[in-house]
Structure formats: C-alpha cells, structure tokens
Subunit: 239 residues, 2 copies
DNA sequence: AGAATAGTGTCTGTCAGACAGTATCGC
DNA sequence: GCGATACTGTCTGACAGACACTATTCT
C-alpha cells in the first residue's frame, strides 16, 4: 500500500441518482447532518475507503447502499471535479457518477439514516446545494440528456414491464420537451432494445389497452459503439 | 488542507497525446526509466501535486510541460481507472486525459529528459505497456474516434492553415477507414467551424492548387451541446 | 355514441453514401 | 496533349418531423 509522504487529496464519489416521479424527472438529495456544509442539500456521496472499495465506482455503489439502501441497475462515471477550493477540508477530487433507479423503486430508499433524504426536481430548481454540487448536478443531468437526445433508451428508469407511452413520457421528462408519438414509436419498432410481450396493460379507464414491452437482455444504456441515432439539426433542449 | 488519517490512494494523471505523422495517427509514449515498470513503455503521466496543481487537468498539463516540453491546444478528461491492483505501489486512481498536438508540432517534444520518448502507432500495435496503459490507450483512442465519427473536426491536430484534403486524411487516419471526398467536403461547406482563406497552397507538383482553410474562433472540439451529425446506420469503424 | 388512449400511414425535408463528372495546375 | 489533384453535381436511400388518420377499450 502506498505510504503518504506529503499532503494528499481528499477523494470523494458523488452520485446524481435520477428517477421518475409522477411529476417528472427527480434527483435524490440528502440534507447534510454534519459539517462541512451542514444543513445544506447535497448529492449523496462520501469518501473513498481503499481498504473497502475495489474501485471508485465501488465507492459510489457502497455509498448508495449504506446511505439510502438501494442497489442501482445503472451507474456510470460522468467526469471529475478537482481543486484546492471546492471542499473546505482542502484539496479534493470529486468523481461524479450518474445513476438511474427504476420508477417503481423510487420509494425503496431508506430514510432511517441521520441524513434527511428527498427526491426533488432534477434541475435542483431553487435549492442551494453544498460545495460545487449544483455544478455537478448540472453536468450529470446534461450527460443524461445528451444520451437520451442521441436516442439511447433510459430503460433503467422503467419497471420490468412498461408501455411505449410510459417510456415516451419518461424520455420527455428527461429532455424537457414533447416528442412526436409516431416518430418515437417508429424508432422503437426498429430498435433491437425492446421486446413486445404477449400482454396488455390492464386498462383502468375507458381506453384501448396498450401492449407491454420489456428490455432485451442485450440492451445497454451506454451503447458499446452502438451506431445510428443522433439529434437532428434543429433539435433543441429546452427546460 | 486535509490531514490524512488513514491510507490514501495514489492519484495520477496520464495523457494519451495524439498527433498525425506522415504514416497516420500517432501517440506519444515514454519509456520508463524508474521502477515501477522500469523499461516498459507507458503513457506520459505522473502524480498529482496538490501544492502545485489547481486541478487534475492542471496536473496533466504540468506533466506534459515538464516531461516533454509541450503546451497542447486541446486536453480533455476521458475517464478514470482505479483500484488496488493497477499500480504496484498500492490503491491508485489514474485519471486519463486525451490531448491533441498539431501535426506541425510533432517534433516540438523535447527528448532531453531521462525518459526516452517516441511517437508510435496510435493503437500501440505490439508494444507491451506498463500498468493498465494498454487499456487506457484503447479508451482514449476510442473516445477520439467516437468524436470524429460523430463529425467533430479534429482541427487541433492541424496546423493553423490547412487544406480540406489534409483534414480529410487526418480524419481517415483517426477513423482507420476511407471517407468519401464529396460527402466530406459537403459537410465542411455547411460547417461553421471552418473559414476559407484567400490563399492557395503553393503547389509543388503538377496539380491544381488547393484552397487553404483555418478554424473559426468559435470552433470547439467538444461541442457545447452542438447538435447535428452522427454516424449512420451502416457506418463501421475498421482498423 | 362518446371519450380516451393506442397505434398507423404518409408526406416532406435533410443529409449520408456512392460515384461520375468538371476544373486547374505543371509538365 | 497528359497526369494529378482539387472540386462539383446528382441520384438514392435512410430517417426525422409533422400531422392526419384508424383501432380498441370502457361507460
């Protein structure tokens, strides 16, 4: 193990955990119960523990598990934030992760920790966030939007079975704009990521029941050099 | 400043510095003169110095400056590599950066350091690299290819003035496949990244002289949410 | 029948791929 | 004229955007 012979940076992993609520895209924030930044909202995160974690990504997963008791189906690195001033404790590196939690597990987060946790609007609206977490949240949200804008399907936000309309509403919540139903469905028809089930959504209203779909096993939100699909020239991402 | 109260990870920045040679895309490697991994080739890199560096990116720039005496016009974060086993000195974090050096500055690297440095084929062909640098090089090259595949113009690899044919050869070297001249030029005509000059390349051969272009000031290789352009369905990246 | 949502068909514009053609230089 | 490279024109197919249309359920 490496033995410090000089001052060392604080290494932290922070997670922007997104999910879908009835009123759009949500991100999980925790209210800090200790200094520094006590009382402010922040992204869930914590310090790397080399004796415990096998990677920085493992740090992120451990923190999600410890702090809010969830195992996420998707977690990926966004970018790093580093410097002498971003944390009052000194020179620090903050690795930002973007994680997705299925819509039907939004209430799985345990709130018995000393920290108060809550789902808030994904853009963090008027909240004052600790450290540079407002910047980080913006970066994570942009990374998520970029992917969906490039037609990656955020299936990790969906339950195991879902309708195309639900998936469309999910994409619209992420992008912050309406999508054309016909265009959306045409794309999904040609996609190899979805599989229709021989099942219909039980209709509770006076309406035609919709087909249920599920993600194919081969689906990957970070396409392994998956080609095709991009935003068009005139596309705009509006909040 | 943060005071260590436990074992701390080694924090390193490594840079995949690419440029264009007469025979294609090149990456700069250094032969390690010290342990660990003495005698093996590796990406230029080194340890974060919190007293000196204002960010991890600053670490990368400082190392390029100190080790090989170049200031690069483009340097961006790719992803991190971390874990207890990737460096024999112990738990470590390696932040990978991708940098571009203009074609006409390939010989600006100073070789007076104790390290032996050399430009090699960008894929690292048959070289055995130190640590996980083969993985890192692959990741950096893929990141570069992905961008160019999505029609970002690698203008930071070009001299201040260049012809469209030269730029096309540059893109082909990165992608590892031939591009259609007509398609390429049509795209550039509609691009806001390039500006034609009222100047012709002095022709040293029996051929029509070509128009010189330069990058517009607004050009950015990492498009700030720049839309449009993506690989098409049938596109393939072949080595 | 009517309301509501599911799902389809079709027209149009944009752009990539392919490839043949023209232009301009030195010899 | 010829060779070489710069540059253009045009046809086609894939796909996004827009939007009108049909289908199937419950009340």
């Amino acid at each position: 193990m490496h033995v410090p012979k000089m001052l060392y940076p604080l290494v932290v992993a922070d997670v922007a955990l997104f999910s879908i609520g009835t009123d759009g895209l949500k991100v999980l924030l925790v209210k800090r119960s200790h200094e520094p930044a006590q009382g402010l909202w922040s992204l869930p995160g914590g310090i790397l523990q080399p004796e415990v974690d096998n990677s920085l990504q493992a740090t992120a997963r451990r923190l999600l598990s410890q702090k809010i008791g969830v195992e996420v189906p998707y977690l990926s690195e966004v970018c790093s934030f580093s410097g002498p001033d971003r944390d009052p404790r000194g020179w620090s590196i903050g690795m930002l992760y973007c994680a997705l939690l299925p819509r039907d597990q939004v209430h799985a987060v345990v709130k018995d920790s000393v920290d108060e946790v809550d789902w808030v609007r994904a853009d963090g609206h008027g909240l004052e966030l600790a450290f540079d977490h407002a910047l980080q949240l913006e970066a994570a949200l942009q990374a998520l939007r970029d992917k969906v804008e490039c037609h990656a399907l955020p299936l990790h936000l969906m339950p195991a079975k879902f309708t195309l309309s639900e998936l469309q509403r999910c994409c619209e919540a992420i992008l912050g704009r309406a999508l054309d139903k016909s265009v959306f469905r045409r794309r999904l028809k040609n996609s190899r990521d979805l599989e229709p089930l021989d099942e219909k959504e039980p209709s509770h209203a006076a309406q035609r029941p919709s087909t249920l779909y599920r993600a194919r096993d081969s689906f990957c939100f970070d396409p392994p050099a998956k080609l095709g699909t991009r935003p068009r020239q005139g596309a705009t991402t509006v909040a």
